[in-house]
Symmetry: C2
Subunit: 230 residues, 2 copies
């Protein structure tokens, strides 16, 4: 398991220790709902080795993934901005552990730690630009490119050895397309020996190849993060 959260690790050792002490470490399973839309936010989360999907309903039956948060980020930007609800739902996409802090504690820490404020402000900016990048991607890029990108992003955010669990159906939901579309796109990626899967167990075989098979948005999104936070 990851030692800590990458965002928090950017703080001084002292601040970092202090914050981790103010958190609980919690186990989270696939499908757990951390935030319900427009309900009061009770906790912020710093993922260790889980991934969190932020989702918005598109119509009565469909949802679309707006952001995928893992070890590199935090679920909690609205609180940072002085708003205590979010229209986005937050669901666990890959099970694992996260550091969790109560809203009240988070507010207190923000007041006392200017470095934390600055860091999270920058992170909020990164999220906004990544959202813009995803918007462009969704608007113009075909399903195979977007699927490759999603798999790469998941792979980055999951601790370990290049394999994780997610079904075509789940991928289709987060991409907001038919399951059949994912099956076909994934079939092509598998034919090109970039990955292998069976019944939801996906293994990345050729990361470099998969990056070539995805759109520039993957790299662009990483660049946004590095430019501001590294």
């Amino acid at each position: 398991m990851m030692q800590s959260n990458r965002l928090l690790s950017a703080l001084s050792r002292k601040d970092h220790r202090h914050l981790v002490a103010a958190c609980d470490e919690v186990d989270l399973g696939v499908g757990d709902s951390l935030w319900e839309p427009n309900e009061r936010i009770r906790h912020v989360y710093f993922p260790l080795d889980c991934t969190i999907s932020q989702l918005l309903p598109v119509d009565s039956h469909r949802i679309l993934e707006m952001a995928l948060i893992g070890n590199e980020g935090m679920l909690g930007v609205p609180l940072l901005l002085g708003v205590n609800t979010s229209m986005l739902q937050a669901l666990i996409q890959q099970s694992g552990t996260a550091l969790r802090m109560k809203t009240t504690s988070f507010r207190r820490e923000l007041e006392h730690l200017p470095a934390l404020r600055q860091l999270l402000h920058q992170y909020a900016h990164v999220l906004q630009e990544q959202l813009a990048q995803s918007m462009a991607c969704i608007s113009r890029h075909t399903l195979d490119l977007r699927l490759a990108r999603l798999l790469l992003m998941t792979h980055d955010r999951v601790a370990g050895l290049g394999s994780f669990h997610v079904t075509h159906e789940a991928l289709a939901q987060t991409l907001c397309v038919r399951r059949v579309g994912v099956t076909i796109a994934a079939g092509l990626l598998q034919k090109r020996k970039l990955l292998s899967y069976s019944r939801g167990d996906i293994t990345i075989l050729n990361r470099a190849g998969l990056e070539k098979a995805s759109c520039r948005c993957y790299q662009a999104s990483n660049d946004i993060y590095e430019r501001v936070l590294a």
Copy 2:
């Protein structure tokens, strides 16, 4: 012309006067570039009766509009978050006037006016949620719905009497579709007597009808603003 900027008007009269005094009032023409991607941000803008488009290149030839800022908003969130560049380009979409403040002044005001900080933080949150809403819209809604929405948004943000100037070509660029697509969609709206246009002069004839012809995203986007800032 609009008296002032709606966002600034939410401040106390004293703060409001103080801020307006720290701004220049500038005339802006269609196509003027206020921010170039990844260049140092020199000014923030509070539109009076112009509209500002925030754009991201999708590929070498195309751009996509991420946000449309008018009297209700501000161009300058990255500075608020402590980042002095933005990957998004900012172009004037509808000519008019805006209040302009230098980066250094803006930073100073932010430090001295907690109410301004809080207000703009909330605005940053609104922008983020509106971006998410637009993402859903772009992902699943057809061109006619999106066009109606764009026209409504422009109409809201432009001072005056229900008519403004924008060609099919310009609309196509901000929606990131073919001009022909806009021509067809706009033709349908005109046939339904919701609007009329000739050579770029668009007049909204039936606002209620146009709202029905657009997707829920229009109302949702307004609701986000009202919920947080009103």
